[in-house]
Structures are given as structure tokens and as C-alpha cells.
């Protein structure tokens, strides 16, 4: 069925000039989007080169020449720096994508990918694995402890993140109401956080692992992790892009989106599942890297406001660039020591949000 064909506004409709101005405005908007994508692409390439060059001496031309002259370059760059660089890009991309989805689903620019219990779930799982051997036979059954050890930290973090989101959905009785979902996420975060605290009290060995996990690190990313992250992004990005118009419709309000023929509870559930997949993959490999998922979509919205079809992809790229930049900085600022990358992202991301808040640009 077509919309009404005859009604025309009685008041003077803007003529050729208005339409031409509208076309110009549309062209300018598209140009900004393309420029941002190109800028992010160039930044990703440049930072990748820096990531390959940055070694234990930080960003040093002479150290790089020495690495190359020693004949260890293939092993050093191919086995250590290349997967770390690519891995940082991919973890950042998954977090940026998850952040854009979260902010779209919850219609809230302060929504974070860790909002629904994934961070607390992953953190608890990591602590549980570390504490398992110490507590075997006391607080937990030996068989459970052996199973947890076999699972490993990465597997546990992944399952913990998914479990945290699953528990949130269970407490919220599905994804029917946004507010209920958000509140359940807060409750799960607090409860699982308290459980993790209890485990660290019972097994102090787990404290250090928990701290390292919460600060985030890209140092241990190898080629298997890169393959897994790439597979996850290759799966999640097209699915997210296919959902872009649903997220666009949600910007009109829940009633308006529902009136457009969308079964919102089902869509919300699907988008939360996608968000959980991206977040779980990222935190399992790199820990709780702060602020990337929150800041990347903001940055894109500020530099090139657009519909979700663009925002989702550009946020993924921006997230990758942000984390890679933070990783290069973390390796270089106090070389030969290395800062946890989560501290760098927290400082950069928090500073950016404060600056944005000061300028009234948080939207």
C-alpha cells in the first residue's frame, strides 16, 4: 500500500533552493562519514606499523634496526608483535561494535558493553579457576576444581561473560523491558562481584590474577587468539549491520519502533545475544579493557553523525584504532616497563568523555 499521494502542504513548500540545500547537506554528511572512515583506516595502518616496531625499548628506531640486524625479526615480529597488534585491533573492534549495539538497544549514550553482567561474570570465572586448586576439597569438589583447571582462564572468562549475561536475562525474565534488563544487569554485577571478592578472600592467590584481568592486557595475544577474534568479528559485524534498521527504529522510541512491525522483545534478545558474543570474545582474550566500548561510538557520532548502518561499522573500526593506540602507548611510555593497557584506555577514554561533557557534546 502506498502513502497518501494527493495531500500537499498548504503552506509554501520550499522550492528548488531548499531542495538543493537539502541535497548539499546530505552530500556534506556523506563526505564526513567517508572522511572519518578513511582517517580511521589510515590511523589503523599507521598504528599497526608502530605496533610492529615497538619492542621492549619502546618506540626506538635504533632498537628496531638492531632487531632487524640480529636476524630475530621474523620470530620477534611474526610471533609476538604481529599477533599482539592485530589482536588489539580486533579486541577493540569487538568492544566498539558491542558499545554501539548497547547504546542503540538501551537508547542511552552511557550504555557500556559490560553493562549486562559480562564483566562481572568473566571476572568471577577467572578468579574461580585460579582459586579452584587452592580450594579443592574444601569449598569446592575436587572434580569441579579439575574441570575448571582444564577449562583454562580464557575459556572460563568466555563462559563467565556469557553466563553473566544469561543470568541477567534470567532475572529480567527475558528482554521484554529495557529498564528491567538494566536493573538486572546492575544486580548481577554486584552479586557476582561480591562472590569474586569472597573467593579472593578464601584464596589470596587469585587476587593478583583478578587484578591483572580487570586492568586488561594485550600482551598474551597469539595467533590462535587472533584467529578466534577475527572469526567472531566476521560473524558479528554482518549480523549487527543486518540489525541496523531495527536500532534506527529504536531511536524513535519503543512504541514507534513496535508500531513499525518489529517484535521488540525478540529483537532485543537477539541484539543482547550479539552484544554478549562480542564482549565475551573480547574480555576472554584481553580482560576488562575499560572505556573503549563506551568511547568509540561517541567518537564516531561526534565526528560523523549517521544512521546505525554506518555507526556500527565505524565504531568497530574506531574501537580497534583506540585500543591499538593505547597498546602502543602502553608499550612505549615507560619502556622497558609496560603499563596495563586498561589503565591507558581508562585515562584516554575518561579524559575524552570529561572533555565531551564539558562541551555539552554527550548525546
Amino acid at each position: 500500500m502506498n502513502p497518501p499521494s494527493t495531500p500537499t502542504a498548504a503552506r509554501a513548500e520550499p522550492g528548488v533552493t531548499g531542495t538543493a540545500a537539502a541535497r548539499d547537506a546530505g552530500d556534506a554528511r556523506r563526505a564526513r562519514c567517508l572522511m572519518l572512515l578513511a582517517g580511521l583506516g589510515v590511523a589503523a595502518l599507521a598504528l599497526s606499523a608502530l605496533g610492529l616496531a615497538a619492542g621492549s625499548a619502546g618506540l626506538s628506531w635504533s632498537a628496531l634496526q638492531q632487531d632487524l640486524a640480529d636476524g630475530h625479526a621474523a620470530a620477534l615480529i611474526g610471533q609476538l608483535r604481529a599477533p599482539r597488534t592485530l589482536g588489539a585491533l580486533l579486541v577493540g573492534a569487538l568492544l566498539g561494535l558491542a558499545g554501539a549495539i548497547a547504546q542503540g538497544v538501551f537508547r542511552n549514550p552511557l550504555a557500556d558493553p559490560f553493562l549486562l553482567g559480562s564483566a562481572a561474570g568473566a571476572s568471577l570465572a577467572v578468579v574461580a579457576v585460579i582459586a579452584a586448586s587452592a580450594l579443592a576439597g574444601q569449598a569446592i569438589a575436587p572434580a569441579a576444581a579439575a574441570w575448571a583447571e582444564r577449562l583454562g582462564l580464557v575459556g572460563a572468562a568466555y563462559l563467565g561473560a556469557l553466563g553473566g549475561v544469561g543470568l541477567t536475562l534470567l532475572l529480567a525474565r527475558g528482554a521484554h523491558q529495557t529498564l528491567r534488563l538494566l536493573l538486572a544487569g546492575v544486580v548481577v554485577g554486584v552479586l557476582l562481584g561480591a562472590l569474586a571478592e569472597l573467593l579472593t578472600l578464601l584464596s589470596p592467590d587469585a587476587l593478583r590474577a583478578r587484578q591483572a584481568f580487570q586492568l586488561g592486557s594485550t600482551a598474551l595475544l597469539g595467533w590462535p587468539a587472533v584467529a578466534l577474534l577475527a572469526l567472531g568479528l566476521a560473524l558479528a559485524l554482518p549480523l549487527a549491520l543486518r540489525s541496523a534498521r531495527v536500532l534506527d527504529a529504536l531511536t524513535l522510541g519503543e512504541d514507534s519502533a513496535a508500531s513499525l512491525g518489529l517484535h521488540l522483545p525478540r529483537w532485543r534478545l537477539a541484539l543482547v545475544a550479539l552484544l554478549a558474543l562480542c564482549t565475551a570474545l573480547a574480555v576472554a582474550q584481553a580482560g576488562l579493557v575499560a572505556f573503549v566500548g563506551l568511547v568509540a561510538p561517541h567518537l564516531v557520532r561526534r565526528l560523523a553523525p549517521s544512521a546505525h548502518g554506518y555507526l556500527l561499522g565505524a565504531s568497530a573500526l574506531a574501537g580497534g584504532v583506540l585500543l591499538l593506540a593505547a597498546d602502543v602507548l602502553a608499550r612505549s611510555v615507560v619502556a622497558p616497563q609496560e603499563l596495563p593497557v586498561g589503565i591507558v584506555t581508562a585515562v584516554l577514554g575518561g579524559g575524552y568523555l570529561l572533555w565531551l561533557l564539558g562541551r555539552g557534546g554527550l548525546r
Partner: protein, 257 residues
Amino acid sequence: MNPGPAHHLEARDLHAGYGARRVLHGVSARFGRGWAAIVGANGTGKTTLLRALAGLLPPSAGEVRLDGVALAQMSARARGLRIAWLAQLGEVSGELTVRETVALGRLPQLGPFGSPGPADDAAVAAALQAAGCAGWAERPLLELSGGERQRALLARALATGAPVLLLDEPTAHLDPPQQVTLVRLLRRLAATHTVVTVMHDLPLALAADRVLLLDAGGLRADAPAADPALHAAIAACFGGAVHIGWRDGRAAVEPVL
């Protein structure tokens, strides 16, 4: 223009509310081709009735039927193809342009994964033209004034091509010339559509073919706009704060100061 078949929306003994709070108490009404305006004091259930008619709020008792089929038995998409909804302002967020917003009106036809074709582009252009916002189609929705935004959202509702239009406060935020433009548009649409609006502005509401007066969640009157008994009921409902006369085929609403 061929008006096409008439579509009938019917509320049968409708009860609805929010949690334990009951708002509507047994409202029954039938809407066919033409323009019906729902009026009443604040908090009497006007928006609740409209949301229930749109299938956005499940009734606690009673039912809503569209062309004889219960809305509860229709899929979300089937409802979206037949009923267009315009919400009150204030819910909009994001960075969409006016054109992108209006194009969302084609979602019921396309589904979330469909690609728009020339017919969809034409429908969007016609809706932009009809609502008088083609001149700023590429501007971000949130950068518009309240009145301009309202017109863009009305264009989004028109772009659905649905035969039933449910509009909550469509004249809010519009300046007087734009209110007149919108009323004329609604009158033209009423020739081919089932149009139901919630309105606070009594003179504009009385430009409709028919007016429903809600009072404390119940239907107090349902009559043609020119009916003197309706005018008396409205005046009584508003505590005598208005006086409604009818001169030269038009309502004359005066506040009693």
C-alpha cells in the same frame, strides 16, 4: 481518487492500564473512514486508549478488532502494515536525518532486512511533500525545532501507507499556520483513511468529523463535532472553564475567565 475499501477499528469494552493502575474502564467505540478526535482533561486515558487501539498496550479486558480480526491475533508486521502510529514528542534520540527517519516508515513493507526500491523512495518523497518537510529532508531530526520535528514524524507515519492513522497530539509544538495546515491535511486524509487523533486543543479537535470525550477512563460522549450536547458535555468535563459555541459551521471555544 479511489478511496479504496474502508477499514474499521473497533474497541469492545476495553479495559487497560499500567500495572495495578487501571486507566480505561470499559470503552467501546468504532472507527471507520473519517477523522475522529479524542479529547478530555489531562490523565483521563486518551493516550492509553490510542496505544491500546494501536496494539501497543495489551488490554487487561475487552479487545480491539481491525476489520473484524482481533489485534492480539495479528503479527506485529501485519499490524504495522495496517496501522500507523505517531507518538508524542520527546522520545526521539539518535542522529538520523529527516529522510532516514521517514524512510523507517517503510519498515512494515520491507521488513528489517529488505532493501528499499523505487516505490519506497517514491512513498518517502510523497510523505515528505505531504508533511511539508521536503526542504529539510537531509537535516538531522534532533536539530529541528519541535514543530518541524513533529511534521517529520508525521511524514514517517504517512510513509507507512497504512490505512489507519493513530496520531497522539499531532498539532503539539506547531505554530498556528502549521496547525491550520495540519488540520487541512487531516481532513484530506480522512477522505481515504481512518484517522484517530488525541488532541488537547479544543478548537482544532472540533474541526474533526467526530469527537469522543473521555472522562476518568470512560467514554462520556461520542458525537459529531457540531452536536450541542457534545459541547455541553465537554464544558461540564472541563469544569465550566470553557464555553463552546457553533457559528458558521465552526466551533467557537472561549475560556471562561
